[in-house]
């Protein structure tokens, strides 16, 4: 295994650990969004229950809150688009590098 490969694997494992450890150590935590937590602080500071003056476009369109499952579907869609693009191009680069290396060898 090359040195870079090893480095990449180690780095990715560290990243995964940082993400997973809280899940196991903080049992029973809610893991709500911190964006929402921010909204709570707004209410705290202004002293009153803050009423947002605009509603998200989707909520207006479907006339209610976006169902949790649908929300996660859309989040997945976003991730999917991103991952697709990254690895489509990365795959092309990998193949190209391979071909170039072969060409260099035969020459």
């Amino acid at each position: 295994m090359s040195k870079t490969k090893k480095k990449v694997i180690i780095l990715l494992s560290i990243a995964a650990l940082i993400a997973l450890i809280p899940l196991f150590t903080l049992k029973g935590a809610e893991f709500g969004g911190s964006d929402d937590a921010g909204s709570k602080v707004v209410s705290q500071i202004t002293g009153t229950d803050y009423k947002p003056w605009a509603k998200p476009v989707m909520e207006t369109l479907i006339g209610g809150k976006l169902p949790g499952e649908i929300e996660s579907l859309l989040f997945c869609l976003q991730t999917g688009i991103g991952v697709g693009v990254i690895f489509f191009y990365l795959g092309r680069f990998v193949e190209r590098t391979k071909k170039e290396n072969q060409k260099n060898k035969t020459e």
């Binding site: 560290i14 809280p22 709500g32 937590a37």
Partner: protein, 250 residues
């Protein structure tokens, strides 16, 4: 930028200065409807010159080298992925990364404003995450202020001859943290605390965001380093064209 482009950016800056200057002592996603209208407009207008500069910056990069569009697409996709992953953090709440570091390091901070706003619009419309009214404020914190800091730190590390990967790591993670600092500031300006004013309010918001974001910033730094390592291995010619790799300097 040519003459005409420069003029447009200049006009946009003037526009922003006229409408955007606030009596504030001059600061991630703020939810839809959570900023008063006045602040929505101010932050939106401040973003305009950056977006214009970003558009021309991307145009210039692409006209210099058509091939870099693939890397640009990847930098945009990187933001897409990272900002969609909600990750649990030590405080017991979830947050997500920004992913803007990669674009800022490869294409400069301005180009990221365009990439970032695309993601933010997607999330605001489809996901009810962030919002159209707060788009300006969110764009400013995530796609403008964060990348600027990332770029600055990356350049400083380069000057100081810090190890390249360490520099990238620091740049990406501090940029991520800074994004949330700016968000806290944006909220604080809109909601100054009755007793301590803007500063007290900012501290309060920061106390919510910072501990959650810290581990995520570290992850973001690591992922940015990993993807750059990958690109260095397989897309050497593109990175060299972008001026990221300066011929056998490495």
């Amino acid at each position: 930028m040519n003459q005409k482009e420069r003029k447009i950016v200049f006009i946009a800056i003037a526009f922003a200065l006229i409408f955007g200057v606030t009596p504030v002592a001059n600061a991630m996603h703020i939810m839809e409807g959570y900023l008063p209208l006045k602040f929505c407009i101010i932050w939106g207008v401040i973003c305009v010159p950056f977006l214009a500069a970003g558009y021309f910056s991307i145009k210039k990069t692409l006209s210099n080298n058509r091939k870099s569009i693939t890397i640009l697409a990847m930098a945009g996709a990187f933001i897409f992925v990272l900002s969609s992953l909600k990750i649990p953090s030590v405080t017991g709440s979830c947050s997500h990364m920004t992913g803007t570091g990669l674009g800022a390091i490869l294409f400069g901070p301005m180009a990221v404003s365009i990439l970032g706003i695309i993601v933010l619009i997607f999330q605001a419309i489809l996901l009810a995450h962030g919002g159209l009214t707060t788009l300006g404020a969110n764009t400013f914190s995530m796609a403008i202020a964060g990348p600027l800091i990332t770029y600055a730190i990356y350049k400083i590390c380069q000057k100081l001859k810090v190890n390249k990967y360490v520099g990238i790591f620091l740049a990406a993670s501090i940029g991520d943290l800074f994004t949330y600092c700016v968000t806290s500031f944006e909220l604080a300006v809109a909601y100054p605390s009755a007793s301590g004013g803007i500063a007290a309010s900012a501290a309060k918001f920061l106390a919510v965001f910072a501990p959650t974001q810290l581990p995520l910033a570290i992850i973001e730094g690591i992922l940015t380093v990993v993807i750059i390592m990958g690109l260095e291995t397989y897309a050497k010619s593109e990175l060299t064209d972008l001026g990221f790799l300066n011929g056998g300097e490495n």
